[in-house]
Structure formats: C-alpha cells, structure tokens
C-alpha cells in the first residue's frame, strides 16, 4: 500500500526527504557508474586494437 497521501508528501517524506533522496540518488548513481565503467573501458580497448590493426594493414599495403 502506498504510504503517502500525495506525490508531494512522498517527495517531502515528512521532512526527511532531502536525506532519503540524497542517499538513494548518490548510491544509485555510483552503482550505475560502477556498471558503466568496465563497458566503456572495453569499448575503448576494442577501438584501440582495431585502429592498431588498420594501421598495420595500411603499412602493409604501402610497401
């Protein structure tokens, strides 16, 4: 059952709103970042490896 009378009451949380929302917001943001970081690293590594292979091929064709 929804514990609050209105959406405004839900946001305000009887005065505890800022604390609760800050705790949830920061924690979930850190967790999202934890999950995204390795994916971005992988993508960067793949791009780097691809570029290296391409550079090698170009050098091979130039000869």
């Amino acid at each position: 059952m929804f514990q609050f009378e209105s959406f405004d009451a839900f946001v305000a949380m009887a005065g505890h709103g800022p604390y609760v929302w800050a705790a949830y917001g920061v924690s979930l943001a850190i967790m999202a970042w934890l999950a995204v970081l390795p994916l971005r690293r992988q993508r960067a590594l793949f791009t780097e490896l691809r570029q290296r292979v391409q550079a090698q091929q170009q050098r091979g064709e130039g000869k």
């Binding site: 514990q3 505890h16 604390y19 967790m31 934890l34 590594l45």
Partner: protein, 245 residues
C-alpha cells in the same frame, strides 16, 4: 574435475561463458533493485521512531553486507591465485577491489546521511561506522598497491598477499573497535540498534539484498572481463573480437 579446473583457469573460456550469464544477471539486478527501491521508498511502512529516514536502510544494509563480503571474495580469489597460480583468480581479485571500495563508500555515505536526522549529526565514532572506515582504508591500500606495479602479474601477487594479511586481521580489528566503543560510548547518544523489523519492512530489504548480490556478481564479472581483455590484448582471439565489434 581437474580438466574443469583447468578450463576455469583459462581466461578465454571464462570470457565466453560469462558472456552468456551477463544479460540474465543484469536483468535480475535491475528488476530486483528497482522493485526494492520502489517498495522501500513508497510502500514499506515508516519506522515508528525514525520516520521516513529509516528508508535509507534499504541501501545501507545491503551495501554494508557486500562491502565486507567483497573483501573476503577478494582475499579468497587472491589465495586461489597464489596457491594454484591461476591467472583468472588474480584477475577476479583485481576486479573486486574497486567494487568493494565503492560499496564501502556507499555504506559510509548512506550511514552518515542517515545519522543526521537520527542522531542529529553526520558523523559519530560508532563502532560499526569506525570499522567500515577502517575497511575502506584497507580497500584503498589494495587499490593503491595494485596501481604501483608496472606488470599486472606482480601487482596481483602483491595485492593477494596484502589482502590475505588484511583478511586475517579484519576480525581482530572489528573486535578491538567494538571493545573500544563500549569503553567510550557517549552517554548522550543512545543507539537504538537495528530497529525491530516488521515483516512489511523486512521483505523489501530482502529483495534489495538479493538485488545487491546480483549487482555485485554482475559488476565483478564485467570488471574481470575487462581485466581479461586488457591482459590478453596481444592474443589473436582478443584481436578477432575487437575486429568483429
């Protein structure tokens, strides 16, 4: 059995097989955490004494659980890597360190915010908070050490030793901090301890704990896979993988 063990030690095999688990783990952690957050924020009853600030427990407790469990995961992986010279275990250990440190930070941060409406101050030297802080320092030590070596192999071995030394010391540290706290417990601040949990409060907590476990496994796998790719970047299978993307 040994063949299986050998296979598990092969980074490439692990990369392939873990790729199949990833979507399911990601789905499970998102569903569980979203359910838990909505349930905890909107539908769980508020605590009689602490009011709505009590809702922070749904982040704080799972994060604290995994912060400590994560150190043991790291040390166990380090031990396996050291005893059986298993490369994969080394990579898991390196992958676990920043994840554990981040969860420890979340536990400390939510604890501090929770403290303000509950005790009237962001920080008190409570036994559990102090132990968490020491745990964060242990994690930071591991991360700092892992970044100072030039080769990944040496770095993993060194971190494994430090993690094992830290692990056998953690119970001593925790016990001593507990004892220290009972000695100095300020009379003005009475800790209520864990609020007596009504089942309606406890169910979302259980969902969140499960969700955090899935999330931990997910990020540990992701970090390990990244570590595998970086270490094996010169091998053909990684190059082919990169070309295929």
């Amino acid at each position: 059995m040994w063949q299986w063990f050998h296979k598990l030690g092969s980074p490439r095999w692990f990369y392939d097989i873990s790729g199949k688990f990833l979507p399911w783990l990601a789905l499970a952690s998102v569903v569980l955490i979203v359910t838990g957050v909505v349930w905890g924020l909107a539908f769980a009853p508020q605590d009689a004494r602490q009011g709505n600030s009590f809702r922070i427990i749904y982040i704080h407790v799972p994060a604290s659980f995994l912060a400590l469990a994560g150190y043991y995961v790291m040390a166990a992986a380090g031990a396996v890597g050291m005893i059986w010279k298993m490369k994969l275990a080394d990579m898991v250990m390196i992958a676990a360190a920043p994840l554990g440190a981040a969860l420890t930070f979340i536990a400390l941060f939510t604890g501090a915010i929770w403290g303000k409406p509950t005790w009237g101050t962001y920080w008190i030297w409570d036994a559990r908070i102090t132990s968490m802080l020491v745990l964060l320092f242990l994690y930071i030590g591991i991360i700092a050490l892992s970044r100072s070596f030039s080769t990944r192999e040496t770095s993993a071995r060194a971190c494994a030793i430090l993690a094992l030394v830290g692990t056998v010391n953690i119970p001593i540290i925790y016990k001593s901090v507990d004892w220290w706290y009972t000695l100095h417990q300020p009379a003005t601040i009475k800790l209520t301890g864990a609020p007596s949990m009504h089942p309606d409060m406890f169910k979302p907590l259980l969902v969140m704990i499960l969700g955090f476990y899935c999330f931990y496994a997910l990020v540990l796998l992701l970090n390990t896979r990244t570590e595998i790719l970086q270490r094996e970047r010169r091998t053909n299978w990684v190059k082919e993988l990169a070309a295929g993307k």
